[in-house]
Symmetry: C2
Subunit: 190 residues, 2 copies
């Protein structure tokens, strides 16, 4: 019985979303799996904008429940952290105890990305935490992103693959995605 993998990520927002998701679906099939892609590109007509958004949300939740596994593209999106929709979906799949893998195409880890965000002006507070000039503490756990994301993946035997794509291929480079596919294949083979 072929396993189904939900392909989560902000890929749906790309100008060439269909091309990239098509490539990811092809690679997934070539690895022996059935790809399930977010419903954003196949949008059912609705009377209101919100109705449309709710319909896509329901489609995606349904696909996630149907899937056996997820490969989440957690590359920082419009800022210094993963896409929040993808983070929601990763949490959703973790709660259902699915097979969860993720990747980022940006090699710099969470702590350093935050340090860069603050221009390096960090302070140590009395409680031993590192904080930005706005007082907000910065997680310092040798993790690629927020500890719930890394923790959710690692505690279930998954891997958060850290790639290092050129800046102009941050959302299109598929090396880290391929590595996730390879690891999921090994996981199901064992």
């Amino acid at each position: 019985m072929q396993k189904k993998i939900y392909l989560a990520g902000p890929d749906v927002f790309l100008a060439n979303a269909r091309e990239i998701l098509g490539q990811k679906a092809d690679l997934t099939r070539a690895a022996g799996f059935i790809p399930l892609c977010p419903g954003d590109l196949e949008v059912p007509p609705r009377d209101t904008k919100k109705g449309l958004g709710l319909a896509i949300s329901a489609i995606n939740e349904g696909m996630m429940r149907e899937a056996d596994a997820v490969i989440a593209n957690l590359t920082p999106f419009r800022g210094l952290a993963a896409d929040v929709g993808t983070s929601f979906e990763l949490g959703f799949m973790c709660a259902l105890d699915k097979v969860v893998y993720g990747y980022t195409n940006f090699a710099t880890d969470h702590f350093q990305r935050c340090a860069d965000y603050y221009g390096g002006t960090l302070v140590k507070s009395d409680d031993g935490r590192t904080r930005g000039p706005d007082g907000l503490s910065i997680e310092d756990f040798d993790m690629a992103d927020n500890l719930m994301l890394d923790g959710g993946i690692e505690s279930r035997g998954g891997v958060f693959v850290v790639g290092n794509a050129p800046q102009d291929a941050l959302y299109t480079d598929l090396d880290a995605f391929r590595e996730c596919l390879r690891l999921v294949s090994l996981r199901y083979a064992s």
Copy 2:
């Protein structure tokens, strides 16, 4: 039987995290519920940074499973979207079909925040979508954040409360949180 509410949010990163989470816990108890707060502030010793992060992740997942409901602080955090850890937790609770409510203290909706992020230089592409100059499409669904977040809450009968706190009280104003508590109370009373 008193219901347990998990208090998700980036509040744990505040310089006065204990004070704010203490206030939220007090309000939750005053509303007749048992508050469960993220484990970030009660950190068990571990040998490595990553081991510590994984331990906190496990504590938080355990509390979420124990909780009956979540009130998620989805105020934009270090950028234009909700905190990714909180987004993960919201997805986690949605998958478990818990009672889910959320709030933001920032009144500007997702579409306008993205427009502001791009300095207003938006384009319409051939597929009818609005995009930033980087080609990334912008969700336009009259929603406070990514459609998975709004959709996850609304489809379960919850409410994504949109507050409007002063900039200097973005993470400390509790009006929208109180409104969530009021709505959860009504939900359980009905």
